[in-house]
């Protein structure tokens, strides 16, 4: 069989793909390449694939490639993929792409990575860029702010290059060091504030009659009514949401904060972690990896705006305007790790904090600046948001922060009351 690169014959149907069948689709500009650009490294005999048609090899190879890059692709998904390709014809590469998306189901936050692998495997296009943050819902809103007027830092202070609205993209590595995070991880789930769930558990007192179990007892006791069996709504720990400022002015602290975030994700099931600087990035999935070094390296690769500027108000508003993100904050203990050095107008920050406070169970701001005994919440931004904060605490040490998070379930006076007392 000769291969015509411009007008390939479908390995599945034997039909010639119509010229330009690909055009006008999502990757309309690309030339349709035959699906045999990358053959698997090991021989088919070794893998027991001799009985499969040759044309199936690239499809199988794609599944293997994805697995190599950490996508969870089950064997039945690969066979589903092949079935889907057969069902669709396929009439063009776009069909193979649609089949891959539908059956291999890449997670939404790794869609761009998936696309890049698809391009390199089936089109031989190795220049496709793998982006870190592929969250479709935030991108639009983040982009909206990227064109904002850029404000230069007005003054230089201790603690880094200070917050500026300039976006600087860079990467970072993390080294392991020892701290009290293992104990924190163990204690976290039990220490978080609790709420009543809609799920019920058996109880011996103070509950509603459990008719299901009671009836079984009555039937087995031949009609006698035993002591009543009760159920009560169980309590579950509240969600924990941590938003980490990764701007230049927080440079000294972000490494410690991320280790804390990793311990929190490992310690409590329903923890969500976001970073913000000039854009918003959800890193919870990366931090789910048990090994801290791997998790932090993955998170570091996802965040594009390390040590750049801050647009705290707009990024928090972007966070709140994505319905699934704002639902992470609903009823949760929300902790913002930031110096809250917002440049320019703070109206957006104020609006964002008011909204966050309205939907959160408890809203806390931890600023490393509060480590200085002379610190007072005197900046215009801090004065404006102080009334809606439940806590304004020292965020200069990981130890202090872990102690604070473990005390979240205990009631405390509001931030405004506390700081009025100090001032």
């Amino acid at each position: 069989m000769t291969r015509d690169v411009d007008n390939p014959i479908s390995p599945f149907t034997g039909r010639r793909c119509p010229e330009g069948a690909d055009e006008g689709r999502r990757h309309g500009g690309q030339r349709p390449a035959p699906p045999l650009t990358c053959l698997p490294a090991s021989s088919p005999r070794e893998r027991g694939e001799e009985s499969l048609p040759r044309a199936a090899a690239p499809l199988l190879g794609f599944g293997r490639l994805l697995r190599r890059y950490g996508f969870a692709v089950a064997p039945e998904q690969v066979s589903g993929f092949m079935q889907a390709v057969t069902l669709l014809g396929p009439r063009s590469m776009a069909d193979i792409r649609e089949a891959a998306l539908a059956t291999l189901a890449p997670p939404a936050d790794r869609r761009d990575e998936f696309e890049a692998h698809f391009q390199s495997h089936f089109h031989g296009n190795t220049s496709a860029v793998v982006e870190g943050d592929a969250d479709e819902e935030t991108r639009i809103k983040d982009d909206g702010g990227a064109d904002d007027e850029r404000i230069e830092a007005e003054q230089r202070q201790e603690g880094g290059e200070l917050s500026s609205a300039l976006e600087q993209l860079s990467a970072r590595d993390f080294q392991r060091d020892d701290d009290g995070l293992t104990a924190f991880r163990r204690k976290l789930s039990a220490a978080l504030p609790a709420r009543r769930s809609f799920r019920t558990v058996r109880t011996h007192s103070r509950g509603k009659l459990d008719l299901r179990r009671s009836l079984r007892e009555i039937v087995s006791a031949d009609g006698d009514v035993p002591s009543p069996l009760l159920r009560r709504r169980q309590t579950v720990p509240r969600k924990l949401l941590i938003l980490i400022d990764v701007s230049g002015s927080m440079k000294l602290h972000t490494a410690g904060y991320l280790k804390l975030a990793h311990a929190a994700v490992q310690g409590a099931d329903r923890t969500e972690i976001f970073t913000f600087g000039t854009r918003l990035t959800r890193i919870t999935t990366a931090l789910r990896i048990r090994d801290r070094d791997q998790a932090l390296a993955r998170a570091a690769a996802q965040v594009d705006d390390w040590d750049g500027g801050t647009r705290m108000g707009p990024t928090l508003l972007a966070f709140l305007s994505v319905p699934r993100f704002s639902s992470f904050a609903r009823g949760a203990a929300v902790i913002i790790l930031s110096d809250a050095l917002e440049r320019g107008d703070h109206a957006e920050l104020e609006a964002a904090m008011r909204r966050l406070s309205a939907c959160a169970f408890r809203l806390s701001l931890a600023t490393p600046l509060a480590g200085d005994p002379r610190f007072r919440p005197a900046t215009a931004a801090l004065t404006a948001i102080l009334p809606v904060l439940d806590d304004l605490i020292d965020g200069s040490s990981v130890k202090g922060l872990t102690d604070f998070i473990l005390s979240l379930a205990r009631p405390a006076p509001t931030a405004a009351t506390m700081w009025k007392r100090v001032s």
Binding site: A72, Q83, L87, E98, A102, A105, R111, L215, P323
Partner: protein, 293 residues
């Protein structure tokens, strides 16, 4: 609509898109492909996306297209087997025991069984479309239970034995991604992410769904809604809100309000949050004028 074989209708993604359009649902190429594959591979279809992009509507349209009854299971935190599968009517059982006296009575008879959506689907003589709505709101335990149901399409009731589906249902799951679903569930499904439509498609949807809206109005509404959605609002408007806005503006216009004014006055049906309204108010005039231009 008379019941037809699902596979007869789903001959190609294009045929699916056409059939859905006849049911007043405009599906793009990707969604039509996912629906086609789900029907032909006999797998559940998992639809994810922001609220208001038409996930539930897609399920309704699929049911209408196939001429099947739709059985909907709305998930929520705390939902369990008794809410999803079946429950015994304990009060009636107790009464029956009391009335029976010395007589034998089968308290696990059909008349005491309350069939919840999953059991209803299995007991139905014909194929049903099952919509498991907002699966992300349920707990992990419920997801595991659902996984078991989806793999075998059967339920074991200890007192009654195993009930198998007479005809395997077409299952559609929706999720707003407020939590990540288990990999095991994702890999059993055909997956599709529904995003907000582009302006042209949204205008088409408005034309199809709204009662008496001019094409220019639909295009203007679609363009304005696209701009408004890009703003950081607490509650970004969904497609249904856009349709309502076009309808409301048309009614106001017929009542005597000139165009830009009619849009501005009808904004309450598009944006339903007081803070969002005050945020967008200063810009609204410009957005509407640009959209009408």
């Amino acid at each position: 609509m008379a019941e037809v074989n699902a596979e007869t209708l789903a001959t190609s993604p294009e045929a699916v898109a056409q059939q859905l359009a006849a049911s007043r649902y405009l599906a793009d190429e990707s969604l039509a492909t996912a629906i086609f594959l789900a029907i032909r591979l006999g797998k559940p279809l998992l639809l994810e996306g922001a609220p208001g992009v038409g996930k539930t509507e897609a399920a309704k349209a699929i049911a209408e297209m196939l001429g099947r009854d739709l059985v909907r299971l709305q998930c929520y935190e705390g939902i369990d087997a008794a809410h999803a599968l079946y429950e015994w009517n304990y009060q009636r059982q107790l009464l029956a025991i009391r009335h029976a006296g010395e007589h034998e009575i089968d308290i696990y008879d059909d008349r005491f069984l309350i069939a919840r959506p999953l059991l209803q689907v299995l007991r139905a003589p014909e194929q049903r479309v099952l919509l498991v709505d907002e699966i992300d709101r349920s707990d992990h335990e419920f997801e595991a239970l659902l996984l078991e149901f989806l793999s075998d399409f059967q339920i074991s009731i200890p007192e009654r034995g195993t009930i198998r589906a007479a005809a395997q249902p077409i299952v559609i799951l929706t999720s707003n991604r407020t939590r990540e679903l288990a990999e095991a569930l994702r890999r059993r499904c055909v997956y599709h992410w529904i995003g907000y439509p582009d302006a042209a498609r949204e205008a088409d949807i408005i034309m199809l769904r709204a009662g008496d809206v001019a094409e220019d109005t639909a295009r203007a509404v679609a363009a304005a809604v696209l701009t408004i959605r890009a703003r950081p609002l607490a509650k970004p408007p969904g497609i249904a809100e856009a349709v309502e806005w076009a309808n409301a503006a048309t009614i106001l216009e017929k009542g005597g309000s000139p165009w830009p004014e009619a849009f501005r006055r009808a904004i309450g049906v598009l944006i339903k949050d007081e803070e969002d309204l005050s945020y967008i108010a200063p810009e609204l005039g410009r957005i509407v004028e640009e959209a009408l231009a």
